[in-house]
């Protein structure tokens, strides 16, 4: 399966605008997809949880309201990762 990860703001400096992760199964947990990108887990995960104010969306839904890092991700899903940010 193929999963697209989109990066925003300061994360683009380290990871570019997007990365595609390919896996030989139909679905997997979010943490496994994250682990496939060099340096990404260290950037956004701390002590087994997503760092405060980082936002990970799967198809536009914040994974805090799904299964967090255990959220099931399927072929064609879009993952968006945002660092802490604000505006008005």
């Amino acid at each position: 399966m193929k999963i697209t990860i989109l990066f925003f703001a300061t994360l683009r400096d380290k990871f570019g605008k997007e990365k595609t992760v390919k896996l030989n199964r139909n679905s997997t947990r979010l943490i496994e997809v994250i682990s496939k990108v060099d340096g990404l887990k260290e950037e956004i995960v701390e002590e087994g949880s997503i760092k405060k104010m980082y936002k990970i969306l799967v198809n536009g839904i914040n994974v805090e309201f799904l299964d967090k890092l255990d959220t099931l991700v399927r072929d064609g899903d879009e993952i968006c990762i945002f660092p802490p940010a604000g505006g008005g």
């Binding site: 989109l6 925003f8 703001a9 300061t10 683009r12 405060k52 104010m53 936002k55 969306l57 198809n59 536009g60 839904i61 914040n62 805090e64 309201f65 968006c80 945002f82 660092p83 802490p84 940010a85 604000g86 505006g87 008005g88």
Partner: protein, 613 residues
């Protein structure tokens, strides 16, 4: 705090006054003091563009001090766009300079026979002829005054042609690119023929307890620097860092709130602005965040220009709201708004309203003079901005705002407004609490009375489920009261990504010597919010009927994206909101008003049969 300059433009007389300390403790300054003075001196039924309306310029007790992000000022008036009490906040450098020039506030009343400007310098004030400035844009006005008054450190706040032409969302521009944007304050000054206020000063604002204040500043600055929002993303990408966040959450209002997803929004995001057109950051006075942008579109572009911005709200208003993704055209429209003195949110929003009306065949060709206001037409957004400032052709209709425009052309339902003010850059079908904040905003469609996007999307201070209604009324009230305090001190709201009312109480205690607690300060915020509602009730019978949203947001499910199928469930939130506020059907009860020390307002409502039983 408390030194007022009263300017009567009818008599051309100026007078110094003082506000008693007990009043200042009850209303603080800024928005709060402005609301108090408007209720005291202006009949809420007044025509906003008549000489009987007043416009009050205010700083707060923290303006121009070492308190972080204290470089702000505000304007309070009865707004021509909404007929509500209306405060409009601005940054830049002008506010502190007014303080240094020796005044905390200016009450502008009456109307001049011919154009004038006000010059204030180190405790002295005078009205001068502005015939040579009338008709000029804000940049030319600023340059001429600095040259004429002979000091490059003079700061200028002025109106542009839009204010002179009484455009209902004309704004006040200071430092060439900062705006007291919403509601049409520029039209109020235009109706009074006051073109500009130039200020220059060397007087330092007093601090009551230097040691306590310094410690409070240290604590506040430390929190701001440690926050990843204020210390990293905002300085690097500006407010437009929100474009992709909001779009990917599916609540970026697109083509007049017909959907919440704009597929090409990254083309005008903060990331793209930083990459393609950013010249430098533009901090306000005393700011350690520096979210402001100065950008340039190259000379070989048909949209060549440069200036402050564009901000998030602006790129949304000229971007997704009009179906455009051309960053150069969006930026050009932004620069024009600064030069002509137009609120970017309302301007872009109203163009979107026009585009929907055009799409539905409602606009006669002869009004357009060949212009094609189709979704995504970049040239149209620039031309319509010019036409609006000068009330030319269809521009004359746009100048009245989205509500009057949609009503005139027979489709009032496409006006996405609350209390007549155009909704900004968040579709509330994607954030229920934000919808409640919109509906109950005293100054009309506004995201900054209760910025519920912070908890519902950004996770500040904590992430809450944006599609849930439970618990939202209490949060909305906390924000509304807290932001009323922020607008009265006056501080930048970006402080609130790291600090809150308890931290502000420390700053205020040090600055004034009052020993004010968090609880007392929150009470001040509640008092301000209730007083504003009273002004509106006296003005046009505000209440439950007006605490609502356009039918599109209540009844038409979001058609696509992460929020697909959602509507705003206002009926689930409003009763709890009223209960917590101590209001009945959208109006404060006598009990609530007396609890807040506002017995006289309860008596006024009762005398007009407007007090709920």
């Amino acid at each position: 705090m408390g030194k007022i300059l009263r300017v009567n433009l009818t008599d051309e007389k100026l007078r110094d006054e003082t506000i008693p300390e007990d009043i200042l403790r009850k209303w603080i300054g800024g928005r709060g003091l402005g609301v108090y003075l408007m209720l005291k001196e202006v009949d809420p039924k007044v025509d906003p563009l008549s000489p009987a309306n007043k416009l009050i310029i205010l700083t707060g007790p923290l303006t121009g001090t070492a308190a972080p992000e204290s470089g702000r000022w505000c304007s309070v008036t009865k707004a021509p766009l909404t007929n509500t009490i209306h405060d409009s906040q601005s940054g830049g450098k002008w506010g502190p300079e007014l303080k240094f020039a020796g005044y905390d506030a200016i009450i502008i009343e009456g109307a001049a026979e011919k154009p004038l400007y006000l010059w204030i310098h180190d405790g002295k004030a005078e009205l001068r002829d502005a015939k040579h400035l009338w008709g000029k844009d804000t940049h030319a006005t600023t340059d001429i005054l600095i040259e004429e008054l002979g000091d490059k450190n003079i700061k200028v706040m002025c109106i542009g042609p839009a204010g002179e032409n009484l455009v209902k969302f004309a704004c006040l521009i200071n430092d060439k690119g900062r705006a007291a944007g919403r509601g049409g304050h520029g039209a109020v000054l235009g109706s009074k023929k006051l073109k500009a206020i130039a200020v220059r000063g060397t007087m330092k604002p007093p601090i009551a307890n230097e040691e306590k204040f310094r410690e409070a500043v240290r604590i506040n600055v430390d929190k701001l620097k440690k926050s990843p929002v204020t210390g990293d993303a905002l300085p690097k990408y500006g407010t437009a860092v929100l474009v992709n966040i909001i779009n990917k959450h599916g609540l970026l209002p697109t083509r007049n709130f017909q959907t919440g997803v704009h597929p090409t929004a990254d083309k005008y995001s903060g990331e793209t602005i930083a990459e393609k057109i950013l010249v430098r950051k533009m901090p306000c006075w005393g700011c350690i965040i520096a979210c402001g942008r100065y950008t340039r579109i190259p000379k070989d572009s048909p949209f060549a220009g440069e200036g402050d911005g564009p901000e998030y709200e602006t790129v949304w208003a000229f971007g997704a709201q009009t179906g455009t993704d051309n960053l150069e055209a969006i930026s050009k429209a932004n620069y024009l708004c600064n030069e002509l003195g137009l609120d970017t949110i309302s301007m872009g929003h109203v163009i979107g309203t026009l585009m929907e009306l055009y799409e539905k065949g409602k606009i006669p060709e002869e009004k357009l003079r060949g212009l094609v206001p189709e979704w995504g037409n970049p040239a149209a957004i620039v031309e319509l901005t010019w036409r609006t400032a000068y009330r030319s052709g269809i521009g004359d209709d746009l100048a009245e705002g989205a509500k009057r425009l949609a009503e005139k052309y027979g489709m009032p339902e496409v006006a996405m407004v609350v209390r007549g003010q155009e909704l900004p850059a968040y579709d509330p079908r994607g954030a229920q609490g934000h919808g409640l904040g919109y509906a109950t905003s005293n100054r009309g469609g506004c995201h900054l009375r209760a910025y519920m996007i912070a908890p519902e999307i950004l996770g500040v201070p904590q992430l809450v489920d944006r599609f849930e209604t439970k618990g939202k009324p209490a949060l909305v009230i906390e924000f509304q009261n807290g932001f009323a305090v922020v607008d009265s001190l006056i501080l930048c709201k970006f402080n609130t990504f790291a600090t809150w009312v308890d931290d502000f109480a420390m700053l205020l205690t040090g600055a004034t010597g009052w020993d004010i607690t968090e609880e007392e300060l929150k009470k001040v915020g509640e008092r301000i919010y209730n007083a504003e509602r009273v002004f509106n009730i006296l003005s046009f019978g505000d209440g439950k009927e007006y605490d609502t949203l356009p039918a599109r947001l209540l009844k038409e499910p979001m058609p696509e994206g992460p929020g697909k199928g959602k509507v705003v469930k206002l009926d689930e939130m409003l009763p709890e909101y009223y209960r917590l506020r101590g209001w009945k059907d959208g109006r404060p009860t006598r009990e609530k008003l007396e609890e807040l020390g506002l017995k006289e307002l309860a008596d006024r409502l009762e005398s007009e049969g407007l007090l709920p039983e």
